[in-house]
């Protein structure tokens, strides 16, 4: 029994490449890494690399132009070699970046982890301390300190690290809070792991990505800040630094403005490299978890001739099939040879593949399938609400005989709400948390027709009462988080049927609800459907829901329709193997397990 293959929808996805390889694959990040490696090498071996000692003064070479003398990048206002000074200043820049970033990171990570993981008093105190730190005008305090005490650059950078630590703290704390409630942390606790081990292993491992990214940006910020401090004349004037070279050049602004270029370039390139490295890391680390961005999709859709060709041929094929097999127009909804796909690397991955189905006036049709069967995508395509990266490659969707596919968006918008409507699955995420229930209902009414606000409100209140909400006026004024999931689903039903649509799509309308609420909501849907004479296409994975309300059923698997017919017919005499397997998996008719007998021999079936 257990050695059967997994269901076809459950293929193993292998998409793994190390972060390093992905990083080096990106030319910008690779260049940044090479550049930073050179900077570090220069910092370490500066005295061997620099052509002259940074303090060597040759008065005749004062402000000498670049490329003309032994001072390759020119001389400064004291007759020193700018190139040698920049090389000598590298070490300070690199060190300040490392010091500030490591101070900020160690403080932020340690306190963030503790505050996020253990919470309670420590969290409150830490939150408080860091919010004060955040409000303190760090640079000014540092300025004050600088002028009073002889602060060396490393100490100043450490102070700056403390000042920058709230950023790290809040990031780590938020990430830890999210991870703390993950089930795998609970599982680790149940496995008997100590808190230290859980934090060190599970939490840190799970949140390391964003921290590494932040570290790159922090280094950049640190180098910029230390140069900034030197630029305004703080820091050790005896030691050459990028900031002090910039300051020297600034003092010479009216004599030799080109002197600003070299320290500016050293600074700018280093910071740019760190920013690019940070961005590259972000793509490399987060890219392994998220889907390619919209932009990439779009580029592939529009840019790749291959994809376009696929779409075109499929379109021709679909159109010809659609014309061949559809003379009658008596159906309320007629979907024919619908093909929906997501272009990927020049190919179209179809998620809906040659789907044809109909819904008549006053009929409830169940669209059944497991995850990945394409049932929801079929509905989205019929409503013109597919994600931007999806392509309808072929087929036709007709409502009352009129073709919907290819309608411009504003015309489609007029059809939606008034003739087509939709009830989503998850009640809470389908209401905007920032607006009251009433205003969201009124928005729909007023988008469909030019109704006055008062009239729209009256309609909305009446509809809320109709869907069985006890106190419509109160619900109308409520925000989504103030009502229960069952009520939210009723609100969504009210929003959908408000315009008395001819056809209603319901996508798993009861899946997120409790059993008793589910039954009530299904009864409500059925009543409304009869009252308005609507056609209803009900998407579900639950065969019980189909048995409860549907007249006909369409079974989908991997984007294709495998069987359709009346509910009684399909449930009692399934023809397709997949339908049989689904019905066999239903546990309704299995025997209840009998109690454990005294001898300890559990009897099953």
């Amino acid at each position: 029994m257990t050695h059967e293959l997994e269901a076809p929808g459950e293929q193993v996805v292998i998409a793994r490449k190390s972060v390093w390889r992905r990083l080096l694959h990106n030319p910008l990040s690779a260049a940044a890494i090479v550049y930073l490696a050179i900077v570090v090498l220069v910092a370490v071996f500066q005295s061997w690399i620099a052509p002259f000692p940074p303090e060597r003064v040759v008065p005749t070479l004062t402000n000498v132009s670049p490329f003309g003398s032994e001072y390759f990048l020119g001389g400064d206002r004291a007759g020193r070699d700018i190139l040698s000074r920049i090389i000598a200043g590298t070490r300070g820049g690199v060190l300040s970046g490392i010091i500030m970033a490591s101070v900020a990171l160690s403080i932020g990570i340690v306190f963030g982890l503790i505050a996020g993981y253990f919470g309670k008093v420590f969290d409150n105190v830490a939150n408080w301390v860091f919010s004060v730190l955040l409000a303190a005008p760090g640079i000014i305090i540092l300025l004050a300190l600088y002028t009073l005490v002889d602060v060396s650059m490393p100490v100043a950078m450490a102070v700056l690290g403390v000042i920058a630590s709230p950023g790290v703290f809040y990031l780590v704390r938020t990430l830890t809070l999210n991870v703390r409630n993950e089930l795998y942390v609970d599982a680790a606790r149940v496995a008997g792991l100590s808190n230290v081990r859980i934090v060190g292993r599970h939490v840190l491992l799970a949140i390391k990505g964003p921290i590494i990214i932040l570290a790159a940006f922090l280094c950049g910020g640190a180098i910029s800040a230390s140069a900034g401090l030197e630029f305004i004349g703080l820091g050790n004037p005896a030691e050459p630094s990028w900031g002090s070279i910039l300051n020297d050049a600034f003092a010479n602004l009216f004599i030799a403005p080109w002197q600003l270029i070299w320290p500016g370039l050293a600074l700018g390139l280093t910071m740019a490299a760190l920013v690019l490295l940070g961005n590259g890391l972000r793509d490399a680390i987060e890219g392994s978890f998220i889907k390619p961005s919209l932009r990439t999709w779009r580029a592939e859709v529009t840019g790749l001739a291959g994809a376009a060709a696929v779409v075109r041929t499929l379109g021709v094929r679909g159109a010809s099939k659609a014309q061949a097999g559809s003379p009658e127009t008596s159906h309320l909804l007629q979907i024919e040879w619908l093909q929906v796909g997501y272009p990927n690397g020049g190919k179209l991955n179809p998620v809906v593949d040659d789907v044809s189905l109909t819904v008549d006036k006053g009929e409830i049709v169940g669209l059944v399938g497991e995850s990945g069967s394409g049932k929801t995508q079929t509905v989205f395509a019929a409503m013109g609400l597919l994600p931007d990266n999806a392509v309808v490659a072929a087929g036709s969707v007709r409502l009352d005989g009129a073709e919907l596919l290819g309608l411009p968006d504003d015309e489609f918008a007029q059809v939606r709400g008034s003739r087509l409507a939709y009830i989503p699955q998850e009640p809470m995420s389908n209401l905007d948390p920032a607006f009251t229930v009433g205003s969201q209902l009124m928005e729909g009414i007023r988008a469909q027709s030019s109704t006055s606000r008062a009239e729209a409100k009256r309609l909305a209140l009446a509809m809320l009462a109709r869907v069985g909400i006890v106190d419509p006026a109160r619900t109308f004024k409520s925000y989504p988080h103030e009502i229960s999931g069952g009520m939210a689903q009723r609100v969504l039903i009210a929003g959908a049927v408000m315009g008395k649509p001819h056809l209603l799509f319901a996508d798993e309308p009861t899946t997120a609800l409790d059993v008793t609420v589910q039954a009530e909501v299904l009864d409500l849907l059925r009543d409304l459907q009869r009252e308005y004479g609507m056609g209803l296409l009900l998407v579900t994975h639950n065969l019980g829901v189909v048995a409860a309300v549907c007249d006909r059923v369409v079974v989908m698997r991997l984007g294709q329709v495998v069987e359709q017919g009346t509910v009684r017919e399909v449930f009692s005499h399934p023809r397709h193997e997949y339908t049989k397997m689904l019905l066999d998996s239903v546990l309704d008719h299995t025997e209840a397990r009998s109690p454990l007998t005294e001898e300890g021999g559990p009897s099953d079936d």
């Binding site: 029994m1 257990t2 059967e4 997994e6 269901a7 929808g9 459950e10 193993v12 996805v13 793994r16 993950e182 089930l183 795998y184 609970d186 599982a187 680790a188 606790r189 149940v190 496995a191 008997g192 792991l193 100590s194 808190n195 292993r201 599970h202 799970a206 390391k208 978890f289 497991e370 995850s371 006890v470 229960s484 069952g486 059993v515 008793t516 609420v517 589910q518 039954a519 299904l522 994975h541 065969l543 019980g544 189909v546 048995a547 409860a548 509910v567 009684r568 449930f571 998996s585 239903v586 546990l587 309704d588 209840a592 397990r593 009998s594 109690p595 454990l596 005294e598 559990p602 099953d604």
Partner: protein
Amino acid sequence: MTEPLLTTEDLVVTYGRGRRAHQVLHGVSVCVAPGETLGLVGESGSGKTTLARAALGLAPVSAGRILFRGEDIAHVGPRDRRRLARDIQVVFQDPYTSLNPAMTIRDILTEPLVAQGVPGDKARSRVLELLDRVAMPANSLDRYSREFSGGQRQRIAIARALALDPTFVVCDEPVSALDLSTQRRVLDLLIEIQERTSVAYLFISHDLAVVRHVSHRVAVMLRGEIVEIGPSAQVTEHPQHPYTQRLWAANLVADPDEQERRRQVRAQLNQIAADAATLSERTTP
């Protein structure tokens, strides 16, 4: 009956304190025998998951006792908890968040073993054995959980729970996130493991059909209390408590004729419980 393995006595769980205190369990008493499955049904907010978490030491027990083999484990410290981990394990609902995405399957399965001080080579052979037991290929070891489907992840979670040969496993909605066909296979795997190892399950689900399929006995929870408990067949076929009756009538079956009959039963029950229903609708925020 044999000596119970796990017993809760008048268990009370309260989250928060002071004015924000919120009592979730109001004195729950259940017991699970060795090798037995006790099914726990109830709707969201009924406290069934809290009961499970209390047994795992993840929820604050404010009164009552949890006895495991006669020892009160309601307030044990981390050291005893580590010892108990050998006996008490868990399979969670969501196989997507119950496995750390940053760890390989090998690390996930070895972890409970290492935490108990099992030596490295022994742990390695044990991990292979575990994968075999849940019918996963041995080459899964160096992959990450995101490379597997929901059903496969749940098998890995089961393997992790079995790593230390526990005598008691809490299964918190282990199949709710799975597709119908996968659901059946995972349930049958759990039953098969029980028959082989005599492990006891506390099996939580909102789905009556699932619960009656795997449970020897079934307990029904409503607002932090057990309202009915008894043999699986009795509770699911001849429910006594009005709430269980309502639950049963609302449960959907894949049979249009049966569904028609239940709708009528429900209409009658609704008539009777109309007042109670409006009351509960009003009290929910």
